[in-house]
């Protein structure tokens, strides 16, 4: 590949008015600025939805607690779930994809920069609408403000008869709008990857991060569209006299379940694939070895995407499906374990025989591997449908999916933050604060989510605002709550680290981790339009080739 010898200077920042800076950010179509806006937006909502989680945990600390009323509690778990999925996880992952995909394939921007900005602002509007419900949704007397129908909004609970006022309308419109944003962003990623790769960047040489994000985007197109359709149908029910889900008039409650989960399950993989993407970049660099079995990693990704489209009804094992349907969704769900298992083995194979550097991004990656393994194994238990009849809708399943989302996705995200923050800002995050963040979060996470499995095994259903004192759930719930407090402290340390390091962190330079992909060949932060001269690559690790001319990857490619 060719290096970027030409330096590009931006305008001198000191001379500008703050209004000019604001105008620049609001009107930007630059993939890096949009990426950062996605990430900051998601971090804001992470704190908001985290606060909602703390309210839930304080209420459940002991039996018959009266910290919040049942109505407020129901709003809290609905808003916590909806926010975390639609306005934290999706935006933050799209933020990283936006920032990194063009840089990693040697492109100067996304294929459709204005669509990119449009998609971000739609997502932003969605989050705003969801929270505006606190002010705007008061309808009939006694009807609540924020949505309180759970993040699945099962029919007929979300119909006019059971959800008067406008809270469910805010929920459904906000998800609909954000869904269009997500679809736009996905179209953009696919078009960028297919048509903007630099010379020499064949599909087989793309970094795994790019592969995983393009597959994820394809899944978005298949999975988010039924969700949008369902939201429109719900609006038709609520305002135009439709009866799709209106069981009082002969509608079908299970129809909504199918629509929701044919989105809802692939959604989990839509979130986990970008997390796999981070791990697939970080583990090799800190093990000082190339990813083990690149072609199989790509194949496993495609297989996950394929199988994940046929597992949705494992969320519905308790609705009384026939034994044939239950068997079918058992086998498809268990099959997901095969490609994910292959991925874990390949990451292990990458570490095996390496020289592992225990920097903070790698610590989070190792914890990810360990926790994702456990999350996968509890997933096998839930896939076994008779076992699921006991476990589903209980705190066991709550613990399981938090193991996936927090123990897996969030840990991978933290790894990504520590790894790419130097590229985004030009400054290193503090290792010391990072280690405090890591260890406190690991301890808090395991206190909360390991222990949370047990009340589920002891019969505690999810979504209850209080419970009876004689069930043996008290102590366990108290431990869970204490763990949540420790996690909250760790998050505050993380946010503090992000802020302090932005001003006082050590200068990063172009390539602080001695890494191998193209984003590390440009300055930190990268200049406008990324590459002064379009790079040319000859292998999967262009910077390795540059650093090791005696033994380049391109020799074996």
């Amino acid at each position: 590949m060719s290096t970027n010898a030409i330096a590009i200077d931006g305008l001198p920042a000191a001379e500008r008015q703050w209004t000019e800076t604001l105008h620049e950010w609001v009107t930007t179509v630059d993939h890096k600025k949009l990426g950062i806006m996605y990430i900051v937006y998601a971090l804001f909502f992470l704190v908001v939805a985290g606060t909602e989680a703390m309210i839930i945990r304080i209420q459940l600390m002991h039996a018959h607690n009266n910290f919040v009323s049942p109505k407020v509690f129901n709003r809290m778990f609905t808003m916590h779930g909806s926010t975390m999925i639609f306005f934290v996880a999706i935006p933050v992952l799209f933020g990283f994809a936006n920032y990194l995909v063009p840089l990693m394939i040697g492109a100067r921007d996304m294929a459709f920069p204005r669509l990119n900005a449009f998609s971000f602002w739609l997502t932003a509007l969605g989050g705003f609408l969801l929270y505006f419900s606190f002010v705007g949704a008061n309808g009939l007397y006694g009807a609540g403000n924020a949505p309180d129908v759970g993040w699945w909004a099962y029919a007929p609970l979300a119909s006019k008869a059971f959800s008067p006022g406008h809270s469910s309308d805010y929920w459904t419109i906000s998800i609909l709008v954000a869904g269009f944003g997500t679809i736009g962003a996905s179209i953009n990623i696919i078009a960028t990857v297919l048509s903007m790769r630099c010379p020499g960047m064949t599909l087989g040489r793309m970094p795994l991060l790019v592969w995983l994000n393009v597959v994820m985007s394809g899944m978005v197109l298949i999975a988010v569209t039924p969700l949008s359709a369902a939201q429109i149908m719900l609006l038709v029910d609520r305002y135009l006299g439709g009866h799709f889900f209106d069981t009082q008039a002969g509608g079908s409650a299970t129809l909504w379940m199918h629509f929701f989960w044919i989105f809802g399950h692939p959604e989990v993989y839509i979130l986990i694939l970008p997390s796999f993407a981070f791990i697939s970049e970080i583990v090799p660099v800190f093990s000082r070895k190339p990813i083990f079995g690149y072609p199989v990693m790509v194949a496993a990704t495609l297989f996950i995407a394929f199988v994940s489209m046929s597992v949705w009804a494992h969320h519905m094992f308790s609705i009384g499906m026939s034994s044939y349907a239950n068997s079918f969704f058992t086998i498809t769900s268990m099959c997901v374990g095969i490609p994910t298992g292959i991925k874990i083995f390949n990451w292990l194979g990458t570490m095996w025989g390496g020289r592992i550097q225990f920097k903070v991004p790698m610590l989070f990656s190792i914890a990810f591997l360990f926790q994702f393994l456990i999350a996968g194994l509890t997933g096998i238990m839930l896939a076994s449908s008779p076992f699921d009849w006991q476990l589903t809708l209980s705190y066991f399943v709550v613990a399981h999916f938090h193991y996936v989302i927090v123990g897996g996705i969030l840990f991978a995200l933290f790894a990504a933050f520590y790894y790419w923050y130097p590229k985004f800002t030009g400054r290193m995050l503090s290792e010391t604060l990072g280690k405090w963040h890591f260890w406190l979060f690991v301890i808090g996470f395991h206190m909360t989510f390991d222990v949370m499995h047990i009340p589920g095994l002891l019969g505690m259903p999810r979504r209850i605002y209080t419970y009876e004192p004689d069930r043996g759930w008290d102590t366990l719930n108290l431990i869970v709550t204490i763990g949540a407090v420790i996690q909250a402290i760790a998050i505050l340390i993380f946010v503090w680290n992000l802020i302090v390091s932005y001003f006082k962190g050590a200068k990063a330079g172009n390539d602080p981790w001695d890494a191998w992909t193209l984003e590390w060949s440009v300055s930190s932060p990268p200049p406008d339009y990324n590459f002064a001269a379009v790079p040319v690559v000859a292998s999967r690790r262009p910077l390795w080739d540059l650093k090791h001319p005696e033994d380049p990857d391109s020799r074996y490619d």
């Binding site: 099962y154 809708l393 259903p461």
Partner: protein
């Protein structure tokens, strides 16, 4: 890094120990899925032990490999400037770790499919007891179509002698939103969904009271939609059936209370057999005093609680659909006196 693994291992061990202790010793929880008392629950328990054993084995092997590589391949100061051998993959190894998971999945699936079939497709013997369960916001209606009994929140069924099984088959319906019937010691959960008929069965061999509650979020008071199943010896069950089949007690000393009941909107929602009250939105009160709890288990069925419940339901169960009746004190007390005769 060693610490993560130690902490993880320790916690996992504690989880296992806690569950085992609870299952073995005197029941710390009355809703433990690992203390099965009915064939479906027991069959699921057997399967779950098998799945747990297989997954534990996978955890030990893969977790062990991860721990080993973390400890063994840490970077040392001596080789800080040297890159390790660059290995890109190995077809044989990758093939092996693809085939082994496939085999595990096949075994787990076959074990699971057997249990699905055994529970879902079990034939219904002619001696089976039929009960129709109707989920309401936020209480349970139980109807015994062949026995002519209607009751609420506390299900009574006979023990099932393994030699002559008399299982109970539940037909599950919903009057409003989705609910889910879950008594962990008697079986897995099955949802009650409007416009849909579901079925589940149980055959407890040990008499006693089994607890459960609604498991599918159904609205404001989902948390206090509790459930009790009384499993009784045949003689006790027959006696209960006989008592429930009687029409309501007519006691002249509480005629004033009865007048209040039948001339206020109580009768819009509640039924008392043999009177003008035929409402279906709330629980049947014909034999109210035969039940141990009020408001779907939210309160004990005592004089004070009953009075409070009529005066201000929100004090016991905020968001319940029963309105506060705003009765004058004398009428309220007369009404409580009347209800307390409904044995």
């Amino acid at each position: 890094m060693r610490r993560t693994i130690q902490i993880g291992g320790l916690l996992l061990w504690r989880v296992a120990a806690a569950v085992a202790a609870q299952a073995a010793s005197a029941p710390v929880s009355s809703t433990n899925i690992f203390a099965p008392a009915s064939t479906p629950a027991r069959t699921i328990f057997g399967l779950s032990m098998f799945v747990l054993a297989v997954t534990a084995l996978i955890f030990v092997v893969v977790g062990g490999l991860l721990a080993y590589s973390v400890m063994r391949f840490g970077s040392k100061a001596a080789d800080a400037n040297r890159e390790p051998a660059q290995v890109y993959g190995s077809t044989q190894i990758e093939l092996a770790w693809t085939v082994i998971p496939v085999l595990i999945v096949v075994v787990l699936f076959l074990a699971t499919a057997r249990v699905i079939h055994a529970i879902e497709d079990a034939p219904k013997p002619t001696e089976a007891l039929d009960v129709t369960v109707i989920g309401h916001q936020y209480w349970w209606e139980f109807r015994y179509p062949k026995l002519g009994i209607v009751t609420a929140n506390e299900l009574h069924i006979p023990v099932s002698d393994p030699a002559h099984p008399t299982p109970t088959f539940l037909k599950l319906l919903s009057a409003d939103t989705d609910h889910s019937f879950w008594v962990p010691e008697l079986g897995g959960k099955t949802d009650l969904i409007p416009n849909r008929v579901n079925q589940m069965w149980m055959d407890p061999a040990r008499p006693g009271m089994y607890r459960g509650q609604c498991a599918q979020y159904c609205g404001v008071q989902h948390a206090k939609m509790l459930l009790r199943v009384y499993v009784e010896r045949p003689a006790d069950f027959d006696a209960w059936v006989h008592a429930q089949q009687q029409t309501a007690v007519q006691d002249a000393t509480v005629a004033e209370g009865r007048r209040v009941f039948e001339t206020t909107s109580c009768i819009n929602c509640h039924a008392v057999n043999g009177t003008a009250a035929t409402g279906r939105f709330g629980p049947d009160l014909t034999h109210l005093m035969s039940r141990g709890t009020l408001a779907a288990g939210a309160a004990a069925n005592t004089h004070d609680q009953l009075r409070l419940w009529i005066e201000n339901p929100d004090a016991i169960k905020p968001g319940s659909l029963m309105p506060a009746m705003q009765l004058p004190v004398e009428e309220r007390d007369a009404l409580v006196a009347y209800l307390e005769t409904l044995r």
